[in-house]
Symmetry: C2
Subunit: 317 residues, 2 copies
């Protein structure tokens, strides 16, 4: 049953962008760069570093220019930034980014509230942005949100998500990341959504961006893996939480995802021990316990071993 899944997958780390934009804590630019460097050190090949949206929209990411300019670029790692419009693209280019992502919602209500555009308005607005990005030789990624459900409209017809994904590919995006923005997805729904997508779009051009708000993210990833998808988004430690339910989990935690792949013999190229260290750093910077289960298990196990005297504490000689 699971003998025909992909042998190697790509994990897209979105913590520094999708994670931080939903955290109350405001990190300094230096802290963000420290976290991004720790993530790059794990073997992750794709890191979403920031978003060039208006600081009025997302004050947590108002230092996008400084973050982008301050990146200690590691060979083999692609650093991305979100751009909502031509102004954002211009800022990203000036800050030295060579990979950007555009984003929209398949649900019009969510789109209006999130980027002040319906699906069709967003698709139209990205024509120029994508053309200009291509002209500048940039790599483009597209995000489609609310594919599994909208916090305002409920279920969203898959045809809308498919139309959005297909058009963004036409505009030059290399890959479309399908988002379960509010973490409502369940496996049969995932099979239906991805099945409809895969009828028109090759698996390598699709990514899953699952939130773990109701605990189902990894089960949905397993379905995607069985259907041949090879790119999965996640956020270190589950950084970000859910904007629609205070105290609930948001983005799928990168450690949980990588642990499952590791256990299944699916290569990621990521060092899980280093990833836990990055998760611990994220937790320290944010100042709260993150929701990632593997992270808490690893930190708890270390605590137990230390309390039994089997492992030295930090600073203990």
């Amino acid at each position: 049953m699971l003998d025909r899944i992909p042998q190697r997958v790509t994990v897209y780390e979105v913590g520094p962008r999708d994670g931080l934009q939903n955290e109350r804590a405001r990190l300094t630019t230096a802290s963000k760069l420290e976290l991004i460097a720790a993530l790059a050190d794990t073997g992750l090949t794709h890191i979403e570093a920031t978003s060039f949206v208006s600081p009025k929209w997302i004050p947590q990411l108002s230092d996008a220019d400084e973050v982008a300019k301050g990146l200690q670029r590691r060979p083999g790692v692609t650093y991305l930034a979100l751009v909502p419009n031509e102004r954002g693209l211009e800022r990203a280019r000036e800050a030295g980014m060579d990979a950007v992502a555009v984003f929209l919602s398949s649900s019009d209500t969510h789109g209006r509230k999130n980027i002040a555009k319906t699906l069709d308005e967003a698709l139209a607005s990205y024509e120029l942005v994508c053309a200009e990005g291509l002209r500048l030789g940039m790599h483009l990624r597209g995000y489609v949100s609310t594919v599994w459900g909208c916090p305002y409209e409920g279920p969203v017809p898959v045809e809308r998500s498919l139309r959005a994904a297909a058009r963004l590919l036409e505009l030059g995006c290399e890959q479309i990341s399908l988002g379960d923005t509010i973490g409502v997805g369940t496996p049969r729904q995932t099979e239906a959504i991805l099945g409809a997508m895969l009828a028109r779009i090759p698996a390598r051009q699709l990514a899953m961006h699952m939130h773990d708000t109701r605990g189902t993210a990894l089960a949905n990833v397993l379905v995607g893996l069985q259907l041949g998808l090879t790119t999965f988004d996640a956020s270190v430690g589950g950084l970000g939480g859910c904007p629609y339910a205070p105290g609930a989990a948001g983005n799928l935690a990168t450690e949980d995802l990588v642990y499952m792949f590791l256990g299944m013999g699916v290569e990621t190229g990521i060092d899980l021990v280093k990833l836990v260290a990055a998760g611990e750093l994220a937790q320290e910077l944010i100042g709260r316990k993150l929701s990632g289960k593997y992270l808490q298990a690893a930190l708890g196990e270390r605590e137990r071993l230390q309390s039994q005297g089997k492992l030295k504490k930090r600073g203990e000689t």
Copy 2:
């Protein structure tokens, strides 16, 4: 791919036993009975109420006799208790229990530390216990722990778990619950373990008892469901935590499991709204936030709606 999974499953609630035995907080007998009644009110058909072990072993469950005698038995609900030996069986019978479970570890090291018996010693000791239980007309269930891994030995050969399960069935157990005691399981491993089991044991005689310590429980359940299993253990709110990693998650949360089944159209007969109420009660009784993701999402969403004035707070008119 998911069109041939079972249409109906049974959820075994183990919170009042497996959950509480791993919590530091000591609940009063009345509180335990209140929680069990709330769980029975959700539509759950199987509830593990307590364990007749020595109070020296598990002081949290030292009131097993009072809990069993105090049960407000609801028609259609089976209440179970764990019994480690003949003395425990005798106590269970005297307290009016008609369904009991015996338990052992496939790993000898875990078995020695947990019940002071190796696998073979435990199997031998349960011969009399099971025979006596059958003579008394009781329903018997068997638990095999550490099937996915042992906290001391690491991986455990599946042949040991299979031998344990097959023998417990011979002794009269109606069903064997296979436990991922430390929550290390991943989907391919689950396919391999269940595949080996199903070669000798019918699916209806097997249950999965997954811990969610590393976030993989539901993905593993999905594999079990695809292989035809129809009984799954879980603990309300994820009550219990992990004894091997302080602060980490333990038992799979019943709400997460039921939410996934609900989304997949798999019938459980359980009312998820009532289950959240039981989870909230468990959280209040224990005095800490539980790890169940659906529970936190539901409570967080309520908080958001209340703060927006769209939903009344408790006590508000």
